[in-house]
């Protein structure tokens, strides 16, 4: 898997994941992902448009990072998962904890400090 981060405005980060988020894929990005959601980054949009497979191990990775951000008073949301990935998120009941957006502007607004 690949993982990249860019600041889309002051204090708001977009983390883009791509590839197959199975056991192997999740292991490949776990450490870097945790590093990117640590520290002062409290407003995070995770772009899932490049992820074509999401297993429970990948959902676990998303949850752990979302939890870390939320424990510091921040917010993490998901952007543009494909149909298969959306179904996995909804079936696991995770879409209520990590909200899904299909529009970057709306996602940015949801995580930015009011």
């Amino acid at each position: 898997m690949h993982i990249d981060a860019e600041a889309i405005e002051e204090g708001v980060w977009k983390i883009k994941l791509s590839g197959r988020m199975d056991v192997q894929g999740s292991q490949e990005i776990d450490v870097k992902f945790a590093g990117l959601t640590a520290g002062e980054r409290n407003a995070i949009v995770v772009d899932l448009s490049g992820v074509n497979f999401l297993a429970s191990i990948g959902i676990r990775t998303l949850l752990l990072n979302g939890k870390a951000v939320s424990q510091r008073g921040g917010k993490m949301v998901l952007l543009n998962p494909d149909a298969t990935v959306t179904k996995a998120l909804e079936t696991a009941g995770i879409d209520t904890l990590l909200p899904i957006f299909t529009d970057l502007e709306a996602a940015r607004h949801a995580v930015a400090r009011q």
Binding site: V23, Q24, F53, A55, S56, Q71, T84, A88, T96
Partner: protein, 164 residues
């Protein structure tokens, strides 16, 4: 390891696969695949599932769902089924189900475990309370039309059946 894997039984009577001929009856072949108890085998399993699923003319959506559920079930077997270290084999069999969906059975010789009886995690109301674990079982039960379990001759036989 060997190339006998994934050769359909009865291949000699079978016409070549025709993914573009929905008017033909579904292929009756059963495909078999053996993997070792190593998480590094999961990608090879997924490739097999996709290739044979196409040959059986299972829809891409059902193949995706089966791929996810097979990843969950086999990850659980590899991670929790064995008391002692060492090489073990897990056998998968894929065929068309009578319901017009697909059926995938997973057989292992690990300790008895019935995924259909395991408790599901309670959905947390807040991210802070989210318990991380048990999601694989939940995904399998919700995504499949049926999950069956049998313990036979010291082996676990777990069968996933997709929707039509």
């Amino acid at each position: 390891m060997l190339s006998l894997d994934s050769r359909p039984e009865g291949a000699e009577q079978r016409a070549s696969p025709a993914p573009d001929r929905p008017d033909l009856p579904f292929p009756e072949a059963e495909y078999q695949f053996t993997l070792q108890n190593d998480l590094g085998e999961l990608r090879r399993m997924s490739e097999w599932l996709e290739r044979c699923g196409r040959e059986l003319r299972i829809s891409p959506r059902r193949i995706d769902e089966l791929d996810l559920c097979a990843n969950e079930a086999v990850t659980n077997v590899i991670s929790y089924a064995y008391d002692a270290p060492g090489k073990r084999e897990i056998v998968l069999r894929l065929k068309r189900a009578q319901s017009a969906g697909a059926s995938l059975s997973i057989e292992d010789d690990g300790r008895p475990f019935d995924p259909t009886a395991a408790p599901e995690p309670v959905p947390p109301a807040r991210l802070a309370d989210a318990v991380i674990g048990g999601l694989g079982i939940k995904l399998m039960r919700r995504m499949m039309a049926r999950c069956d379990y049998q313990r036979k001759g010291g082996r676990n036989l777990f069968t996933l059946v997709t929707h039509a």
